[in-house]
Symmetry: C2
Subunit: 348 residues, 2 copies
DNA sequence: TTTAGCACTCGGGAAGATAGAGTGCTAAAC
DNA sequence: GTTTAGCACTCTATCTTCCCGAGTGCTAAA
């Protein structure tokens, strides 16, 4: 059975009211707050049917209804209208993102913080996915004898560095040359194709320094781990503790379950990755309540979208909030931030 | 009036019991759990006096007693005995700290995570204080035309870098030379004495590159901000959400107040700094409940100590837990971690 | 100074009563 | 067939009352 027009309106009104007040919505309250041209009894009938179809639930017999996961799903899929961001809000976000960004990391931090402030929920920003990036530069900089800073630059504007130890009689020149050799051999190569072996051959093909193999290998190993480490997704997450003020997390156990999961950056990043693949064609992905396979997030909804670097699919930004979130507002906010990122990262 | 021996024992026993159970301690429970050779009536008298002296409080008339801030203070100052860490625990910590650390940052992260795991409370590790550090190196590395990575190395082993923009017709050689010139002029100088002017004179005295002043100044300005930015204390904090499982934070409002304050790294760092100065001569500093002037921490206790780099006073590590914390255990844990840090950072 | 004894206090949990919001159903009206 | 008024019913949340028991403070005796 399909939803007739009035049922759609009823469902929409219930979601709206519940989002606003976090209290089960009854037929009378619905009449009071909305301009339905029918009586409460009629709404009661509709609500009963909506419940039977699985869009609504009752916390207990004599309470109002609350949306089920399916109800929220219907709401975001076909009922809500995503309105444009207000001009002021757009301006606010723009301001927050107008940091002079010279590394993508600082821009993402700003984006995450803007999203958290603006939505009032938990925000998320992830560095570009490694699968889409390749090595552009590798610099080795001697800080003091025996200590070298390896700077790895990836195509998407990601810069990572790592301090490593090497035998302390190697000179700055030797080190720099090895770095250059590796860079020459590997730049342009996707990270997935870089292995200890490719690093070694690159170095040996390109370098002129005379060094015993064992010594050279030691340095190359460090270079290799530095490159591999640049692989790691960085996750910027903000606004976690704001969830404590929501009624759905007034139970500390539940809040703790949420925080426990969120403290594992890797888990969250992995989930985002997986889900983004599933919803590849969509502009944004939304997961509601039990649809989220992460532990402790079954009272939450999760919205992410993908930003581009140099016009190509890159990393993700997102928001985690209660199921009872202001979907249309959050979506327009997240969209706006994404557009700003795309704009700022246009030239590769 | 001074505390006679039995009163001391009573206070100590009450603190111990309350720490263990988070329940007000009555005279009878005290008798049951400890070997006092007197009757409960006698203890009642003692407890009444201890209350009058301000060491104990009653949540309400007919409950047991709980320690007041003053009571805890007396406890940590003269009653508890700090016992040595068990061998296993020492081993565990040692293992967690046996990361190959090449930057002080990663060692501090490991220290903070070990402390959080081991104590079960919130841990804190801060990079060395800037007042005690001076510039040792400044490298400028061209990543691509117009983009330069400025690497700042400080005496205490702190390495920071920052990407900056410069006019894009400058060459790697020019940039590197300017960096070298500034390094030559400023290395060994305390950060506090470095200003835009000293940077400029250093560069002009030492460099040979011919560049128009306005251009040079632009680069120098970026170098200067990079140095100044290295100034910032980094704070590593872990284990926050563990507090949610403590009964004293079952009220989400309270937890939120705590988290709100803790999310401002600067606030906490500033407080630690201030308090460390006050307790300069002591091995560790302890602040209990209301003694802590940070908002939201009045149900907490705060213990910090100072680690050394190259034998000189450097940064702080610490633990924030409930007032009802296992002081002696935490102190021995924190001390152990500090000793490990000192050991690892012995050679400058 | 210590102790036994006892009356008193107070919080917290159990039990019961009540109000009110909301429901589902029936039968009449449109 | 759909809508509506009316009504009995259900269930929670709240308030009151009551009582238990842990704990106290005081007194008087050891």
């Amino acid at each position: 059975m399909a939803l007739d027009n009035r049922k759609k309106e009823v469902l929409q009104a219930i979601v709206d009211d519940y989002v606003a007040n976090c209290e089960p919505v009854g037929s009378k309250a619905l009449i009071d707050r909305h301009d339905f041209m029918v009586s409460s009894a009629t709404l009661r009938n509709d609500m009963a049917e909506l419940e039977q179809m699985g869009y609504l639930e009752k916390p207990h017999t004599s309470a109002g209804r609350i949306p089920s996961d399916k109800g929220y799903r219907e709401y975001v899929d076909s009922l809500m209208k995503v309105d444009k961001l207000s001009d002021e809000e757009g301006k606010e976000i723009k301001e927050k993102l107008s940091v002079s960004f010279d590394e993508i990391a600082s821009l993402l931090k700003a984006a995450s913080s803007a999203l958290a402030d603006q939505t009032g929920y938990i925000s998320l920003a992830m560095t570009p996915k490694l699968t889409s990036s390749y090595l552009t530069q590798l610099k080795m900089l001697m800080i003091e004898p025996g200590k070298v800073l390896v700077v790895v630059v990836l195509s998407a504007g990601v810069v990572k560095n790592r301090m490593v130890r090497i035998p302390d009689f190697l000179t700055q020149e030797q080190i720099a040359q090895i770095g250059n050799a590796v860079e020459r051999g590997l730049s342009g190569l996707p990270l997935s194709e870089i292995s200890l072996i490719t690093v070694a051959t690159a170095a040996k093909d390109n370098q002129k320094v005379e060094l015993p193999d064992s010594l050279l290998n030691q340095v190359l190993y460090e270079a290799y781990t530095a490159i591999k480490q640049a692989d790691n997704l960085d996750v910027y997450m903000q606004g976690k503790h704001r969830m404590l003020s929501l009624p759905e997390f007034s139970d500390t156990k539940r809040a703790q379950g949420l925080f426990d999961t969120l403290s594992h950056d890797g888990l969250v990043a992995g989930y985002v990755d997986e889900v983004t693949k599933q919803d590849e064609k969509k502009e944004y992905m939304i997961r509601i309540g039990q649809e989220i396979t992460l532990e402790g997030l079954d009272e939450c909804s999760f919205i992410t979208t993908t930003y581009n670097v140099g016009g190509k699919v890159a990393g993700n930004i997102g928001v985690i909030g209660p199921k009872r979130m202001e979907y249309s507002k959050v979506i327009s906010q997240i969209n706006f931030v994404r557009m700003m990122l795309d704009e700022k990262l246009k030239q590769p």
